[in-house]
Symmetry: C2
Subunit: 343 residues, 2 copies
DNA sequence: CTGTTAGCGCATTCAT
DNA sequence: ATGAATGCGCTAACAG
């Protein structure tokens, strides 16, 4: 281990070697526009920098220019299985934009989140992304407002902060289209807790698409769930035990689909031969353990992360792109739980 | 959007408000040890900082102290499905250590990797982790040596750099234990390309465990694969079509297990009732699409990421922990492809 | 134990 | 077009 600790070469060194001033070096190395520097001088400087092994010092540059080139992302990285995808999208986009992304865990405790943001602010981030683990209205910590901020997979009540969310309706429509394509016309739905964006959007999109195809979704075919496997089990039981049971069930999320599977199997029905199931969320670990594999609607996490950064970039470069609210499509992820309708 | 751009509060401001010098403020705010400052003075300073809304400027601190508090991680984030887990582990550990982790994509092109590291070095990272997407010997770019560096999921030929790798043998043993527990004694193995660490270790551990249980693994039960599904198909075919076919097959990786599934189903055999299969890698997307779910050995990515950071921390704090090579256990991930032996 | 002084490496305004 | 001067906010000797 011999990281030879020679004094690092600075711009001054380069300037001296090239026989020009530090200013000139700075201009050349940063490709400053609006300045015309003789080609030979340019060459000489570049060559000297190369030869000396000059490397820019980001901290010094940040301090002097008051721009860190950093974005921050706060998310529940350790507890949320989705966070990784948001990070991936945001990270990739940041890198492409020639910026680094600083990640800080929030883990849902309001205090921790503010503290995490505080640390990011110490790093003088130029923009902040706050990502939630489920589509909801959030209370943004006060200190988040000290820098351009965009919300991902959430939004603030007041609507002042720009946000990137999944288009839940598009997901509902995708689910409906799939079931319709397989000939289903007797369809049931188990909802999420009433009022939350996911519940409202998924149901609305689903209902609209069915309706457009002339298929009814009567009230008795819509049973209320609460997002748990338990409620999925009971919801499915209710749908199946009633008169004229549906040939397909669209579950508001994968966890409920899991419960529905149990109720279905308990009744000796086979998926997808006798009944089809579509979930929502595309939770790997879950769809992984279900037999047969669950066809489900995915949330566009990676895209949301990338879109968040893109919006931030637009904001920090002053482009008045305050088309604040972006909703991204939720694509269907086919596995094996949808089959042709028997009736 | 009114991020009021007042002049940020500096230490000088705090010092003035508290009626002390900047040095004293610096000492107090950084909890500098070995200095005894009157409790009242401390209070006064802390209070002033709080009141003025002082926030440390990381760039300035980094510049002056020559320590950035940053670690770098180079990995194939966009193309490798495993990278996210390494990042998660490393990110979490870094945060706990009060450091930020800077991520840079390598995507396997040697040139890009050096360039990525170069950017990290501009940020004056204090340590670097290079993570590979498969267990291999790597050629470390020259510039990586300018800072403490640890390799994750790979190692350098010369053995000079510390590394954290999976204990492939432990994985082989885990696979053997599972099959033995289910009563199998006629077992086949499809190997990875000969010579690579994963091939050597997995086979060795597997063979050793069987041998310890008095079960033979004759040469004709070991067929050479190359890691592709195609080779898994052919390998399984060879094992099944020979005289005295095995009741279980341990595949060197999940992709080959996938191919093996095809050969098995083609011959009318049912998994796990008539034949058991164990894979290696625990590739979500793959195990996800296989029916029945594949029981497979997982690589400890998250742990490796965390261990990498821990090692880096030890190195940068001077602790002479040059117990350079760390190998972490590979645990079995049970799904549904292992059943009781018929014979 | 506290304050004074001098950089850290770079950007930038203002002369030349 | 280039160079000199100044400051970004903080740390770290060294004095007092």
């Amino acid at each position: 281990m011999e990281h030879t600790r020679e004094r690092p070469v600075t711009m001054a060194d380069v300037a001296r070697a090239a026989g020009v001033s530090r200013t000139t070096v700075s201009f050349v190395l940063n490709g400053r526009s609006g300045v015309n520097i003789p080609g030979t001088t340019r060459e000489r400087i570049l060559h000297a920098a190369e030869g000396l092994g000059y490397r820019r010092n980001a901290a010094a540059q940040a301090l002097a220019s008051q721009r860190s080139g950093l974005f921050g992302l706060v998310t529940e990285i350790v507890t949320s299985p989705f966070a990784a995808d948001v990070i991936k999208g945001a990270q990739w986009r940041s890198w492409e934009d020639n910026r680094f992304l600083l990640i800080a865990p929030s883990e849902n405790e309001q205090m921790m989140e503010a503290a995490a943001i505080e640390k990011l602010l110490e790093q003088r981030i130029e923009g902040l992304i706050i990502a939630a683990s489920w589509h909801q209205a959030v209370e943004v910590p006060e200190n988040a407002h000290q820098v351009p901020c965009v919300l991902v997979h959430c939004f603030d009540e007041s609507g002042r902060l720009p946000s990137v969310v999944p288009d839940e309706e598009s997901g509902g429509r995708a689910a409906a289209q799939e079931l319709l394509a397989y000939g289903h016309r007797e369809i049931g739905h188990i909802t999420l807790p009433p009022g939350i964006p996911a519940q409202v959007g998924r149901l609305r999109g689903f209902g609209a698409e069915l309706s457009a195809a002339g298929v009814a979704l009567p009230d008795h075919r819509i049973v209320a769930g609460d997002g748990t496997a338990e409620s999925g089990y009971h919801g499915a039981a209710e749908l199946l035990d009633g008169p004229n049971p549906p040939t397909a069930i669209f579950c508001g999320n994968d966890r409920m689909a899991m419960g529905a599977y149990d109720a279905i199997k308990e009744r000796g029905l086979r998926i997808p031969h006798e009944i089809s199931v579509v979930g929502f969320d595309d939770q790997q670990a879950l769809a992984d353990s279900l037999r047969p594999g669950l066809t489900t609607v995915a949330l566009p996490f990676e895209e949301m992360g990338a879109a968040g950064v893109r919006k931030l970039t637009a904001m920090t470069t002053g482009s008045r792109d305050t088309s604040s609210h972006l909703a991204l499509d939720c694509p269907l992820h086919r596995r094996s739980s949808v089959g042709f309708a028997l009736r």
